[in-house]
Symmetry: C2
Subunit: 245 residues, 2 copies
């Protein structure tokens, strides 16, 4: 099973100005192609922070996906930092330059836009059908835009080159019972199904406390068995099963 880490590069997330939605979108997509997201980090637009996080994460996980910081303005420093992290030159990418020249015309390809075709040497481009300036990958690090729509288009392209596995399936049983009441019996279900990941998440709905029990496994048959055991456990408490959201 391949593993992955997401690095969100952006002061705007850390300042609270912007609610991140990239982690969740990528988490769902990675799950669908059978890659396990093991960590996500949000870090500031500071060179040492970017270089450190990229080098730590690329050593530990099969795939690292970064978002943010590849535009043309002074605060877009991701590409230079990736080059430094890999210890390779930060240089003009001819293929990217051709793409931007065709789009903007030579007369509009100013210094700022040329920065968007300056990358770690040897980078492979990730097409950008929305705003043209491409992302890129170096080794196991995939560098994408921060704007959700652009990031999503980039990922939709690059995902075909990733080595995934079976999607991880999940089943949820939501019930108007508190965690504290069912915890001991839930532990028994988990012990009966040690290969199934069973999570318990309290919720408040219409003023009533409840718990969502989520089982996750690659195999649908095994998952159905675990779900049946959860439902049976819940019914032993006369638990009212809530409609799952």
């Amino acid at each position: 099973m391949s593993t992955a880490c997401i690095i969100i590069i952006g002061n705007e997330i850390l300042s609270g100005r912007t609610q991140d939605v990239n982690i969740n979108w990528l988490a769902v997509e990675l799950n669908n192609i059978g890659i396990r997201l093991k960590e996500a980090r949000v870090i500031p637009d500071i060179p040492q922070a970017i270089i450190k996080a990229v080098n730590e994460c690329r050593a530990v996980y099969d795939y690292v996906f970064t978002t943010g910081g590849i535009g043309p303005t002074h605060d877009d420093i991701t590409s230079e930092c990736i080059a430094q992290a890999f210890g390779v030159p930060y240089a003009r990418n001819k293929e990217a330059e051709t793409i931007l020249t065709e789009y903007y015309g030579l007369e509009n390809l100013n210094e700022a836009r040329l920065r968007m075709c300056t990358m770690p040497e040897g980078a492979a481009l990730i097409p950008n059908p929305i705003s043209i300036a491409p992302g890129f990958s170096v080794g196991n690090v995939y560098v994408m835009a921060g704007v959700p729509g652009i990031m999503q288009a980039m990922f939709d392209h690059l995902k075909h080159g990733l080595t995934g596995g079976k999607p991880i399936l999940s089943e949820t049983v939501s019930v108007f019972l508190t965690e504290g009441k069912i915890a001991a019996e839930l532990t028994k279900v988990q012990e009966t199904f040690p290969d199934v990941e069973i999570g318990s998440y309290p919720f408040v709905r219409e003023g009533k406390l409840g718990t969502s029990l989520v089982a996750r496994h690659e195999d649908a048959t095994r998952l159905a068995e675990a779900k049946a055991a959860i439902v049976q456990m819940v019914q032993s408490f006369d638990g009212e099963i809530a409609k799952d959201e």
Copy 2:
């Protein structure tokens, strides 16, 4: 200026099941009390991952805030891991036990619920007005629930004990001009105001590409000067100023 890191502990975020909202809420709150959020991590419910992240982050930042994993079920392992991270015993907290006993009554205080009053020795409690079972702090690490409403109530209480500074103020100028067009002039504004953090964030609104320019500084007067320079720069391009969202 104090610094902070958030650690979101939860498989449900990494699986894509749940969209995290705790990072953004805490980011806004920390900003309001003049504490700089420098990093956020989302990590799985795995002991080594929790211990490693907590120890790395508490060594680097003034404050570490964790959310998630302090409930009564088998997947709630945060408290034990914090005890291990600090190398202190994981033991029954008398004060927490009294609170839970009063709430549930002795007859309903089962083993699972007693887990919620088992904590690192020496922990200071963080009150939980919503679902009673308290969070806690050890050293510079503040351990809170994952459910947003509960986490928020906990933070509203504990924030009065934090050492912050002046809030970081921000001003946004949104304009229907692309980043690539204004980047060089924006760099000049940034160079004129090296003490002001100026970020540039592209957006698509009503089918039109635009850029939000965000200036951040502690001092309102200095910030107003930077904003005026940004507006002047934008007007030099005949940029249509968009209503800020």
